[in-house]
C-alpha cells in the first residue's frame, strides 16, 4: 500500500470516529455511563430515608437472596424475594412459549400470502408493535375486567352465571405480556420463514412425509434462528417488565421490575435496588451473548 493510500485509510477511520462522537457522547452520559453508577451504588450502605451513605458494603448483594431478621439480626433466606424471582422467570417463560405457539402460525400465514398482500399483513402486525405499551396494557385491562368484554360475552352466551375474576394477578400479567410482546415474536419468525424455500416442503411430501413430520423435521430446524431471535426478544423485556405487572398485577403481584422500583421508593434500600438492577442486567447480557454466539456459529456453518 502506498503512503498516500495509507493516509487516506487513516483519514477515513478518523472521520468515522469523529462523526460517531456526538452519538457516543450522548449515549455515554444518558444511557450507558449511568449504569456504572448503579454498580457503585450496589456496594454502598442504605441511608435512613432512602438514598445512600458512602460506606462500602456488600449487604445490597447479599440482600438479593437473604434478609436480616429485624429482631434477632440473623440472616435467613428471603422467601418473598424468591417468590418474586420465580414469578418473573416463570411468567416470562410462559409468555415466550405462548407467543411462539400463537406467533408461529401467524408468521407462517403472513409469509405464505401473495406478495402484494404481505406488506399489508406485516403492517397490521407492526402497528401494535409501535403503539404505546401502556395503552395496549390498559386495553387488556378493559377486556379482562369484571364488566369487560370477555365476561360480557360469556354471560350473554350463558357459559357462566357470574363474571369471572380475571384481573389483578399472575394470569392477567401473563395475558397482558403475551398480548403486548406478540409482535416481537412474529416479526423475526416471519423473517426466517420468508427465506424458507417452499420447494423443501414438496421434497418432504414427495418422500411420503406426513404434515407433522414435515413440520418437525423440515420447517422447524430451518426456521430455528428466527425462533431463537423471537424468544430472546420476548423473554428479555418480559423479565424486565414494569408497566404490565403494575397495571395488571394490582400492586401485590410484583415482578423484578416493580421490586426494583419498590427498593427506591417505599423500601428505602437503594443498594439492594441497585444490586437487583445489576442482576437483571447480567441475566439479559448473558441471554444476548448466548444468542450472538449461536447466531455466529449458525452462519459460519452455512
Amino acid at each position: 500500500m502506498s503512503r498516500a493510500e495509507d493516509a487516506a485509510v487513516h483519514r477515513s477511520v478518523r472521520n468515522g470516529w469523529l462523526l460517531s462522537t456526538p452519538a457516543l457522547f450522548l449515549l455515554t452520559i444518558a444511557a450507558a455511563g449511568p449504569l456504572l453508577i448503579v454498580l457503585v451504588y450496589s456496594f454502598l450502605t442504605p441511608g435512613q430515608h432512602g438514598n445512600v451513605v458512602w460506606d462500602f458494603s456488600v449487604e445490597g448483594w447479599i440482600g438479593i437472596l437473604w434478609s436480616k431478621d429485624i429482631f434477632t439480626g440473623e440472616w435467613g433466606l428471603a422467601d418473598a424475594h424468591l417468590t418474586i424471582f420465580w414469578r418473573s422467570v416463570s411468567l416470562s417463560l410462559l409468555t415466550t412459549i405462548f407467543t411462539f405457539l400463537l406467533g408461529f402460525p401467524t408468521a407462517w400465514f403472513i409469509a405464505t400470502r401473495p406478495p402484494a398482500q404481505r406488506a399489508l399483513w406485516l403492517f397490521l402486525i407492526t402497528i401494535p408493535f409501535w403503539t404505546n405499551l401502556l395503552i395496549r396494557t390498559y386495553a387488556i385491562n378493559e377486556v379482562l375486567r369484571k364488566e369487560g368484554l370477555i365476561n360480557a360475552v360469556l354471560l350473554k352466551l350463558g357459559v357462566i352465571d357470574a363474571p369471572l375474576d380475571m384481573l389483578y394477578g399472575p394470569f392477567a400479567i401473563f395475558v397482558g405480556m403475551t398480548y403486548v410482546y406478540l409482535p416481537l415474536m412474529v416479526l423475526p419468525l416471519f423473517a426466517a420463514i420468508d427465506r424458507f424455500d417452499m420447494k423443501l416442503l414438496e421434497a418432504g411430501y414427495d418422500l411420503y412425509a406426513s404434515r407433522m413430520q414435515v413440520l418437525r423435521r423440515v420447517i422447524l430446524p430451518i426456521v430455528k434462528p428466527g425462533i431463537i431471535a423471537g424468544s430472546i426478544l420476548v423473554f428479555v423485556p418480559s423479565l424486565g417488565a414494569y408497566v404490565t405487572p403494575r397495571v395488571l398485577g394490582g400492586g401485590k403481584q410484583m415482578m423484578i421490575g416493580n421490586f426494583i422500583e419498590l427498593q427506591f421508593l417505599a423500601g428505602k434500600n437503594w443498594p439492594l435496588g441497585a444490586a437487583l438492577a445489576m442482576v437483571l442486567l447480567i441475566i439479559v447480557t448473558v441471554a444476548l451473548l448466548v444468542y450472538v454466539r449461536y447466531a455466529n456459529r449458525d452462519t459460519s456453518h452455512g
Partner: protein, 267 residues
C-alpha cells in the same frame, strides 16, 4: 379432488389461528376506542355516541399540560437523536470496516438491549445527583434521556438509506470539482433526507410512548401524557382516559403510516 386442495405451503389450522390472532390483537384496541365515544359515565354500559369525554379531556388542565410537555420533549428528542444518528450513520457506513466499529454499533444499540427499568433507575440516580448539585430541575433531563434512547431508532432507517445509496452520483459531483462540503450539501443530504425524516418520526413516536424512563427521571409536576395516564389508572376510571388514549393512538398511527409510505421500496 383431495389432490387439488393440497397446497404444499398450507398447514391445517394455521390460517384460522392467524386470523384469530389478528382479531385478538385489534379487538382490545377497538374496544378502548369505542368506549371513548360512550355517552355513559360507566365503563360497562353503552349509553350512545358522544364526544363529551373528548371535550372533558380537552378542558382538563393536567391533560393539556402533559400533552404540551410530551410534544415538546418528543420534538427535541427527535431532532437531537436524528442529528447525532445521521452523523454516526455517515461515520459507520460507506467506508472500509475499521477497528472499533463494533463498539460503536453496540453503543448505539445499547438502549435496545438494556431493560428500561435498569436505565430508568440509573438515570434517576445520576440526574438526582446533578439536580441536587446544580439546583436545576428543568425539562432538559427528560430531553436528554429521551434523545439517548431514541438514537437507535433514528439510526436504523438512516443507515439503511445510506447503504442503498448510489455512490456514483457523489463521484460525479467530485469529478465536476465540487468541494466535499458542496457534494454533501447538494447530493448526499437531499438523497438522505427521506431516511432522516423516517428516523425522526420513529424517534418521535418512541419518545411520545415512553413511560418507564420518564416516570423515574421526571421531577414533580413534569408529567407527560403516558405518566399522567399511568397515575390515573390507579384511580376510578372514566372514559376520559380512553379519549386521551385514542388521541395518542391516532398520532402514532398517522406517523407510522407516513413512515411506511416514505420507506416503501419502489418496485
Amino acid at each position: 379432488m383431495a389432490e387439488r386442495s393440497f397446497h404444499v405451503a398450507r398447514l391445517p389450522g394455521f390460517a384460522t389461528m392467524a386470523v384469530a390472532v389478528f382479531v385478538a390483537l385489534y379487538l382490545p384496541i377497538f374496544t378502548l376506542v369505542a368506549y371513548s365515544f360512550n355517552a355513559s359515565n360507566s365503563m360497562a354500559v353503552w349509553g350512545g355516541f358522544s364526544l363529551d369525554w373528548y371535550a372533558k379531556a380537552w378542558a382538563n388542565e393536567q391533560v393539556k399540560d402533559a400533552t404540551v410537555r410530551s410534544l415538546v420533549i418528543a420534538c427535541f428528542a427527535a431532532v437531537i437523536s436524528t442529528a447525532v444518528a445521521t452523523m454516526a450513520a455517515l461515520g459507520t457506513t460507506r467506508r472500509r470496516a475499521f477497528k472499533g466499529q463494533t463498539f460503536i454499533y453496540v453503543m448505539i444499540n445499547q438502549p435496545l438491549m438494556v431493560p428500561e427499568i435498569v436505565t430508568a433507575v440509573a438515570l434517576m440516580i445520576l440526574f438526582g445527583l446533578v439536580k441536587t448539585v446544580t439546583g436545576i430541575h428543568g425539562l432538559g433531563y427528560l430531553v436528554l434521556a429521551h434523545a439517548a434512547f431514541c438514537v437507535p431508532f433514528a439510526y436504523l432507517p438512516i443507515r439503511a438509506r445510506l447503504e442503498g445509496m448510489d455512490l456514483t452520483l457523489e463521484t460525479a459531483a467530485a469529478d465536476l470539482y465540487a468541494t466535499p462540503w458542496a457534494t454533501f450539501r447538494r447530493v448526499t443530504l437531499p438523497l438522505l433526507a427521506p431516511g432522516m425524516v423516517a428516523g425522526a418520526m420513529l424517534a418521535f413516536v418512541i419518545s411520545l410512548d415512553d413511560v418507564v424512563i420518564t416516570e423515574f427521571v421526571k421531577s414533580g409536576g413534569q408529567d407527560t401524557l403516558p405518566t399522567y395516564m399511568l397515575g390515573q389508572l390507579r384511580r376510578q376510571l372514566t372514559p376520559e382516559i380512553n379519549a386521551v388514549s385514542t388521541m395518542l393512538l391516532a398520532v402514532t398511527v398517522v406517523l407510522l403510516t407516513t413512515f411506511f409510505l416514505l420507506t416503501r421500496k419502489k418496485d
